[in-house]
């Protein structure tokens, strides 16, 4: 037996992006797990400098082909804050409706073609489609319904073009939305049946210990607006994001790692302000598990019933079971979309005027993979002076590395190939989008 071994497995697939996982093991303990993201930085923040305030949404939507709406709506929220514009009523409802389409489309892709193969013993979505076509076919139908919704509201399914500062270029007619009712009812049924099916899968034991962070909006399962909340009591406005979260460069990744900011020392016996009640300095997890933990009570009725029926209760801390949460969120998105359409009246104007001015704006929304934060500063002509974008995957890198460490330590007796496969599953549980974070390929295990 050599004293040091390095095992390299074929490129990790079914994630968006390019990278590598390095694990060092000695004396039966994992010394180090490093998610090496070596995809080159994409310089979007630099690209935005000098561009007009009206361009941020369209430029940033190009960051991701899977969740362009998330980028658009976080950018618009920040820019509209600078302009002092409030987008509400039907204009706001349409943004939530567009986002529902993206949640359905993105979750369907992950559940049916990226995640489900792991549970059914298939190496790829293609193998799953060949072996279990009846399982995959409804998934593509679901994805198509999400795309149809995005096309109607956003102008097209990929990189939608209809959202603008202050609202929309064109608001849909009542008749156009009514045509979505049948497909969305079908989407809700498919998502509910899929939740029942995946709840019966075999889930390995696992538990993430990280603090959950998600948007919270009283009375609604937060998607396109809300305050930033955590499972440890954090409750802040988007404008306070930089005071509570820090990004740091690590040598093994071109994506920044995010953690909760360390708190300044408090004087003795000082009362703890609610906003300060966070696990300062630690990792935190965003995404479906966090949203479900913080907001399950505000799920749409059909989604709440589905969660109860399949035995899903908050907080759910097993990342393998995130596939059930995504299904429940698809039920929610379809039900919520139906509610919005039911309440819809055509707005008098598709947008409210938004004039440029100097200032700093913060926008935060719930991308399918989790919290997406944007911050911009502009001059009085609306030229962007500075931009900061924090994607969900960069926030989830630290807890993902911690999750991998725990799983590997419990699985060291597995043969190398099985251990590598288990690690890939752990990573896919979190649906990382490495392209967003800045791509993920080989796994090296060094058993020194």
């Amino acid at each position: 037996m050599p004293s040091s071994r390095r095992i390299t497995v074929p490129p990790l697939t079914r994630v968006e992006g390019e990278g590598r996982l390095l694990i060092r093991v000695s004396d039966g303990r994992v010394d180090e797990t490093r998610l090496n993201i070596f995809e080159p930085p994409r310089f979007f923040e630099a690209l935005l400098r000098g561009r007009a305030y009206t361009e941020a949404a369209d430029i940033t939507s190009r960051i991701c082909g899977i969740c362009p709406v998330a980028y658009q709506l976080s950018a618009l929220a920040a820019i509209e804050q600078i302009c002092g514009v409030g987008v509400d009523g039907q204009l706001a409802a349409l943004r939530r409706l567009l986002y529902c389409g993206e949640w359905i489309e993105s979750h369907a892709l992950h559940v049916f073609l990226l995640h489900l193969p792991d549970f059914l013993g298939c190496d790829s979505g293609l193998e799953l489609a060949r072996e279990h076509p009846a399982v995959v076919r409804p998934g593509l139908e679901l994805k198509k319904i999400g795309n149809t919704l995005m096309t109607l509201i956003g102008g097209r399914a990929v990189h939608p073009v209809n959202a603008r500062v202050g609202g929309w270029y064109r608001a849909p007619t009542r008749g156009e939305l009514d045509r979505l009712v049948g497909p969305l009812e079908r989407a809700r049924d498919i998502a509910r049946d899929t939740a029942r099916f995946v709840a019966g899968l075999d889930f390995p034991d696992d538990e993430v210990g990280a603090v959950f962070v998600a948007l919270r909006q009283s009375g609604q399962y937060a998607i396109e607006r809300g305050r930033i909340a955590s499972s440890e009591g954090l409750d802040i406005a988007a404008a306070d994001y930089d005071s509570h979260f820090v990004e740091e460069q690590v040598p093994w990744s071109t994506a920044l790692h995010s953690t909760l900011a360390p708190l300044p020392p408090l004087p003795p016996h000082a009362p703890l302000a609610p906003h300060a009640m966070s696990a300062a300095g630690g990792s935190y997890l965003v995404g479906p598990l966090a949203r479900f933990a913080l907001n399950a009570r505000w799920l749409a009725p059909a989604a709440r019933e589905t969660a109860a029926e399949v035995g899903l209760r908050p907080p759910e801390r097993n990342p393998f079971r995130s596939i059930i949460v995504r299904c429940v969120e698809m039920v929610h998105a379809a039900d919520e979309a139906l509610r919005i359409i039911g309440d819809y009246t055509e707005p008098a104007f598709p947008a409210v005027p938004a004039r440029p001015r100097a200032g700093i704006g913060h926008g935060v929304t719930e991308a399918p993979r989790g919290l997406l934060y944007h911050r911009y500063s502009t001059d009085r002509d609306g030229t962007i002076l500075d931009a900061k974008i924090v994607a969900p995957t960069s926030q989830n890198q630290r807890p993902l590395e911690e999750d991998l460490r725990d799983v590997v330590e419990r699985s060291l007796d597995l043969p190398e190939a099985d251990l590598a496969r288990r690690c890939e599953r752990v990573i896919r549980n979190h649906d990382p989008c490495i392209s967003c974070a800045t791509h993920f390929l080989t796994l090296d295990i060094d058993r020194g």
Binding site: P10, G65, I66, K144, T148
Partner: protein, 146 residues
């Protein structure tokens, strides 16, 4: 670049979709279509500017094209999933242009740019021929113009 050269130069009932960042988007893009042409970049040992043309409706794409992708799915994965589920359009052609330099920057390598112009011309001619044959077949089948 290929798609931009083709926009507005097709018969009626033909649409172009540019920049599908996510190949799974093909499922929606080809929904309801009878004939589909897919143009993508390829990285392989062949000389930059080499063009590979596959009739994906006739036979599976080469095995070496299916597999690890820096996207969630590769174009070949999407095509083969479509075939497995019986959702592949009746006529599917894939043109793959071998690139030279995939790093960021402006412009195209001259060999690759020339190949892209060639593929645009080829696709335009193929679509015109196919559309004419398809219209003729519909007329024969129904007794009405397509």
């Amino acid at each position: 670049m290929v798609v931009r050269r083709l926009q507005g130069r097709f018969p009626l009932a033909t649409s172009t979709v540019e920049g599908l960042d996510e190949p799974a988007g093909l499922f929606a893009a080809w929904d309801g279509a009878h004939g589909v042409w897919i143009i993508d970049a390829a990285r392989c040992a062949a000389a930059p500017g080499t063009v590979f043309r596959f009739r994906a409706d006739e036979r599976p794409l080469p095995a070496q094209l299916i597999g690890p992708s820096t996207h969630t799915l590769s174009v070949a994965d999407a095509v083969e999933i479509g075939r497995a589920l019986g959702g592949l359009p009746r006529f599917v052609v894939v043109h793959a242009i071998v690139g030279r330099d995939f790093s960021r920057g402006e412009g195209l390598d001259p060999d690759v740019a020339a190949a892209a112009r060639g593929v645009a011309a080829t696709v335009r001619a193929e679509v015109a021929r196919w559309a004419a044959r398809y219209a003729a077949a519909c007329t024969t089948a129904t007794g009405h113009d397509a």
